[in-house]
């Protein structure tokens, strides 16, 4: 490993860390506490960087294997997008977006001998990603960071030490539009007339075992308020 490579790695890690911090800070609309922003970003980098390096080392020695893995990943992304669109779990636009962003990135692996194609494929998702971050800032209820920040606010207002249910909770309020949002451990599915909230047991415990009914009602209301532009932010 020469000096250039070491500088590139340091630059890459620092860039990713700053990007993670900025994304969390701005996409949560400053709702996430700054300590949480830093700790989550550091944790993310600590996991992401070693995993990326392991993949790089492994794939650089197994070209055919990397092609097979890429093809399988592409297939799974397309199939899951089609399945979720058919089931009407979210808007088709969001699935199309994920296909347009991930496919060029995965396709890069097939053209390792052609740097021009690789450059083109690397730049296709860039405007899409920028557009997506602007979109998430404008409509923050789609962003997991904003949802997490809102949860922190709600948790201080609901009863704690309550029982858990492995069954999703139905809230008879909705935005009138189908979409899925949430964060790790919490899935919120908006449907035409109701909302379904599903919390994992681990997340429920980590949040101090909140009253599930009260929590589901409040988080749904908060998202609906923001969706209608009624929230004071």
């Amino acid at each position: 490993m020469n000096e250039d490579n070491i500088f590139f790695i340091i630059f890459f890690v620092l860039f990713m860390l700053i990007l993670q911090i900025l994304l969390r800070y701005f996409l949560s609309h400053k709702k996430l506490h700054i300590k949480k922003v830093f700790s989550q970003s550091f944790k993310q980098i600590l996991i992401m960087v070693p995993v990326l390096f392991l993949f790089m080392i492994f794939f650089s020695n197994n070209h055919w294997f990397s092609l097979i893995v890429t093809a399988v990943m592409l297939f799974l992304i397309i199939i899951s997008s089609i399945y979720n669109s058919v089931k009407k779990r979210d808007s088709i636009k969001r699935y199309l977006y994920s296909i347009l962003v991930y496919i060029p990135l995965f396709m890069m692996n097939f053209f390792q001998d052609n740097p021009i194609v690789i450059n083109i494929l690397a730049f296709i998702p860039l405007p899409m990603a920028v557009f997506y971050f602007v979109f998430l800032y404008r409509y923050p209820f789609y962003s997991q960071y904003w949802v997490e920040g809102s949860i922190d606010e709600i948790l201080s207002q609901v009863e704690k030490g309550c029982g858990y249910s492995p069954k999703p909770i139905t809230v008879f309020k909705s935005t009138g539009k189908r979409f899925i949002t949430g964060c790790r451990g919490l899935k919120i599915m908006f449907r035409e007339e109701k909302t379904i909230v599903r919390m994992s047991r681990k997340y429920h415990k980590a949040c101090g075992s909140p009253n599930l009914k009260e929590f589901s009602d409040r988080i749904t209301e908060k998202i609906i308020e923001r969706y209608r532009g009624e929230a004071d932010e």
Binding site: G163, Y164, S165, K167, P168, T170, R198, N211, L212, K213
Partner: protein, 183 residues
């Protein structure tokens, strides 16, 4: 009791009962093909009749899956309106899910319905639920909530009130639900 009243009010119930009386030891499939009634309907009639002791069944083993043959026994049916009214009066009881670490669910998030209640971990006993019962359980408020009345949950899931009361009793027995308070 309500299940018996329901099947008795079905159009072809007495046709099936008469056929069984005249032709003992036949199976549901044979009744279905001879009377041209859907086998599910025949099976439902026979299950209810057997539950109240009006028919007896015997399992016949041979090549392939074992089949059940039925014989008509007859008997009396007394309608206890007081018992029905007692059950009906429970419709205003508020119920909610009971926290139970031994219970898990197998559910369909797209159809908003619980398909199975699993008691005692992944390899535990599985209780299959009908569509309406599954929807009723799906709507059930979580533990520590204020609960919801049986009548309201029944109307939301399209279930008859008396069926819902019976279902709630069964679920309380296995530790899935609990009563909060009377309205």
């Amino acid at each position: 009791m309500i299940d018996l009243i329901k099947v008795m009010s079905s159009e072809r119930f007495f046709e099936v009962t008469e056929y069984l009386k005249l032709n003992p030891n036949v199976n549901a499939s044979s009744i279905s093909s001879n009377l041209n009634i859907h086998i599910i309907t025949v099976q439902r009639y026979l299950e209810v009749l057997e539950k109240y002791g009006f028919v007896s069944s015997r399992e016949k083993r041979g090549i392939g899956r074992p089949s059940k043959t039925y014989a008509f026994l007859g008997g009396k049916f007394t309608l206890d309106i007081d018992e029905l009214l007692n059950e009906y009066s429970l419709r205003n009881q508020k119920i909610r899910e009971k926290e139970n670490h031994d219970i898990s669910y197998n559910y369909d998030i797209d159809n908003e319905s619980i398909k199975q209640v699993i008691i005692g971990g992944r390899k535990g006993t599985k209780v299959e639920l009908e569509d309406k019962s599954g929807k009723f359980l799906w709507m059930l408020p979580p533990p520590d909530s204020d609960g919801e009345s049986i009548e309201k949950l029944a109307s939301q899931s399209g279930m008859a009130v008396l069926d819902a009361v019976k279902f709630v009793r069964d679920m309380i027995e296995i530790g899935v639900m609990e009563v909060c308070s009377d309205e």
